[in-house]
């Protein structure tokens, strides 16, 4: 065990443990969307879990705990980076909270509250995808305008099945989570695995009607 200093609190942790996970487990909240517990290779895509170490911003999910590490999670530089990243995420997110199945269970709402950022980002152009609903998958529907591209669904699928049946397709603003059709003679049937649906922080993936979990 080693001791680290997070915002003047002494925390004991395993040497080499993940900093983000250590902070979260000790009740210090750092906004995050893409981190999966005990992930060996953190995806580090959402750019929300910034902390300050030795005056430099570091994504906490990519940092390992070592003796005497001094971390600050609440500096103005850190908050500014987080707010910008978060506002950019919201600029491609369809804000329809009242109609949304994730309402009140949504990580975006939680982070917005924590960072004190409105859900409608001012000064940024809203860029939504058309069409937003993708029903190309045999049994999943992905709401591309709700999806924050955190990649958790791709990661859990990969961990569970060795291959991911969901993937990132295209590039840049056009990037989507996609499940391309499988070879005809090996039809992709619903096995009852709903890992991707359960892990989604914004409930962007759902089962098609008539398919029961």
């Amino acid at each position: 065990m080693v001791q680290i200093l997070v915002d003047n609190n002494i925390i004991e942790a395993e040497n080499g443990a993940n900093l983000l996970q250590t902070c979260l487990e000790n009740g210090i909240y750092i906004p995050n969307l893409c981190y999966l517990n005990d992930s060996q290779e953190p995806f580090a895509a959402c750019r929300l879990c910034f902390v300050e170490i030795d005056g430099h911003p570091v994504a906490a999910c990519t940092q390992k705990v070592s003796e005497g590490l001094q971390v600050q999670t609440d500096t103005s530089a850190v908050r500014s980076l987080q707010k910008t990243a978060f506002r950019l995420l919201l600029s491609v997110h369809e804000i329809k909270c009242k109609e949304c199945s994730a309402n009140k269970r949504c990580d975006l709402q939680r982070i917005a509250k924590f960072l004190k950022v409105g859900l409608k980002p001012k000064g940024l152009e809203i860029r939504l995808k058309d069409p937003g609903l993708d029903s190309g998958h045999p049994y999943l529907i992905v709401d591309q305008n709700r999806c924050v591209l955190c990649g958790k669904c791709v990661q859990v699928c990969l961990q569970k099945h060795g291959h991911s049946y969901l993937t990132f397709a295209k590039r840049g603003f056009d990037t989507v989570i996609s499940g391309y059709i499988e070879p005809d003679d090996i039809p992709l049937t619903f096995s009852g695995c709903t890992l991707c649906i359960d892990i989604c922080p914004v409930m962007a993936i759902s089962l098609k009607e008539g398919i029961k979990s």
Binding site: Y165, T167, F168, S178, G179, Y180, I181, P183
Partner: protein, 178 residues
């Protein structure tokens, strides 16, 4: 828009299927295989994605994800008259996007797509190197400079008229023979 395979396409795909078996079944071969198919077929229809996925024993989604990341892979067959609209800096400043929009509206397809008769396809490109002529569009091998929305219809019409003319001449030759 779903692409309908032509009989020529089917022949090429069949040949590609047998060529696939010569490639080693390793994941690192994915991009070389896709490149070979792009070279032969000029585009990657869903049938081919499935074929490659099956051969390499990976989910189709993985093949699709890789293929859509790279610009060199196309998902629609090239048109007989490929239209490239330049959206480089100079053309952007001279409203190249309006030219692109005009082509898209006139042909009823979006950038990256091909008309159903495979006559036209639209692609956006970065600088083509003649910024003095901005905005620029290229149809086939011909560069059209100082493009204006009014010229778009003319260009498409010209191809269609030439097409009809060739068709009439062909019919005439046939009727002369009889």
């Amino acid at each position: 828009m779903d692409v309908i395979l032509t009989s020529e396409d089917k022949v090429i795909i069949e040949k590609l299927g047998s060529r696939l078996t010569q490639c080693e079944k390793v994941k690192t071969n994915l991009i070389p295989i896709l490149q070979m198919i792009q070279e032969e077929l000029k585009y990657l229809p869903p049938e081919v994605i499935k074929m490659v996925a099956k051969y390499l024993e990976i989910p189709g989604s993985e093949v699709y994800g890789v293929a859509t990341f790279y610009n060199q892979f196309k998902f629609n067959p090239p048109g007989k008259n490929p239209i490239k609209v330049c959206l480089g800096t100079a053309c952007h400043v001279r409203a190249g996007d309006i030219i692109l929009e005009n082509f898209e509206r006139k042909l009823g397809i979006s950038e990256g797509q091909t008309t159903e008769d495979r006559e036209f396809s639209i692609e956006r490109v970065a600088c083509v190197g003649c910024c003095a002529l901005a905005p620029v569009a290229i149809m086939g091998d011909t560069v059209h400079g100082h493009m204006a929305p009014s010229k778009v219809e003319g260009l498409i019409l010209r191809v269609q008229v030439e097409h009809e003319k060739a068709e009439r001449e062909r019919q005439k030759i046939e009727s002369d023979r009889q």
